[in-house]
Amino acid sequence: MNNKELQIIAHKVRRHALTAVHSAGSGHPGGSLSISEILTLLYFEEMKNLDPKDPSAPNRDRFVLSKGHCSPALYGVLAERGFFSTDLICKFRQIDCCLQGHPSLKDVPGVDMSTGSLGQGICAANGMALSAKLDGKDYRVYSILGDGETQEGQVWEAAMFAAHYKLDNLCAILDFNGLQIDGDITEVMSPLPLDEKFRAFNWNVVLVDAHDFDSLREGFAKARACKGKPTILIAKSVKGKGVSYMENQAGWHGNAPNDEQYAQAIEEINAQIKALGGEI
């Protein structure tokens, strides 16, 4: 798939995320929009041996959304990839729908780990990567962390563990959007500098642009090439990316758009799809 085709899918993922949150009347649009390109490249190119008809195939690459509140984007990409029907998206968070507010391993096809409590997903990803090593298997494990999430001490316990056990089959991606719920990460509780911290923890650190497929692709290639160390892609992103009034606004972390705002958001995303020659 070329970058243009991938970009069209990424925008469709955005549209699903917005539809999910709007129809539920709650959920997390900001951090979902910032990871659409990352998820699209992972599920449509980077991750191997995925089979929507057999979501628990033993040799598949795994993905853990450590910042589990961004389930709308994960569900969007899983639906686009065929793990379940896109019709489910508008039932997100409803009592009779499997699409739980936060990713649930036992409920949602294609979800590899239950998350939602920040800091825990990256540890579970370590466990999966370690298990592959124990079994001599060559599947890889990917995990997206939030930048605010790195304030959890458990993240640094995981950072130490992954380097100590030389988990070079693990690739973490840090969604560096600069915002958390109460505002700018540097004002709430600065975790910076993140690159130097992970380097000091003996990780292979690669800086990438979260909205540029070539940059992300190069990052994933560097991660594969690096032996004896885990890799983290520090992905500079825009929270709320793709919807003008949501971009870089902490207020859109966990709020649903009203009908009018939703209509405008969809219009903006559709215009971007059209500009790429895609069908709406």
């Binding site: 968070r93 009592i95 507010g101 649930s104 409590s117 605010g148 709430v188 509780m189």
Partner: protein, 310 residues
Amino acid sequence: MAEKKATREAYGEALAEFGEKYDLVVLDADLSKSTKTDTFRKKFPDRFINVGIAEANMMSTAAGIATTGKTVFASSFAMFAAGRAFEQVRNSIAYPNLNVKIGATHAGISVGEDGASHQAIEDIALMRSIPNMVVINPADAYEARGAVEAAILHNGPVYLRFGRLAVPYVNDKDYKFELGKGVTLADGKDVTIIATGLMVGEALGAREVLEKEGISARIINIHTIKPIDKDIIIKAAKETGHIVTAEEHNIIGGLGSAVAEVLSENYPVKMSRVGIEDIFGKSGKPQCLLEEYGLTASNIVSRVKKLLGK
């Protein structure tokens, strides 16, 4: 019953109000707009500390501040305050018996859409099993305000459990909160319904239905789950012979268990526990979840009838 207010809302307002009168420091972990400690922050920015998304760190830091003589409130969602940071609460706060008040919001399944990962149904059990810890679960906004002041005046750790959902008032405006004292909201002779938190309103609803069917139910609100008011429970058992408990919590380890402990050692009578039947919650509208999990007046009514053999 028309007017409603969330207990977390009252919590934030109470902190801002009592911040005038008492030397308080308030800590939060990146959830101040949801826990409502934001209301305090706006008024006393210098006495508000955001620790970032780091609940374990928050609890032990709160303990350290409390050793210097200040009263500290530490807030997050109940899942992270009681769950994530359990051992810090136990060893840094309760063991040295420090003046840290844990303001835990978004407790129970009435959290709604966020789903099971965010619905604390074990927090009462966890907190009440820690020595020195006082556990309070207010039923309405007036009670929440009173509980905050009582927690400030109490010397030692207190766990305050608040809800996300707006709930009706069950008390009067001039209600006086008394730590450790159950409240008889209505008298009755056939059965006593002992409820806590948002289930108090449901218990009162159940009483009306039962009355029409010729069953007279006493209603007791237990806001302080620990130390529990043994006298009011034993008296109810003696006078009404049957006890039904109702709580928005797992039936294991919460109010129902605490009441059963009192009765089995003092005056055993037939009882039935209404609560979450040892299963995880899920996403959905709060009201739909409360119905699906049996946390309603009508489920209390059917439990009462079953217990009385009617």
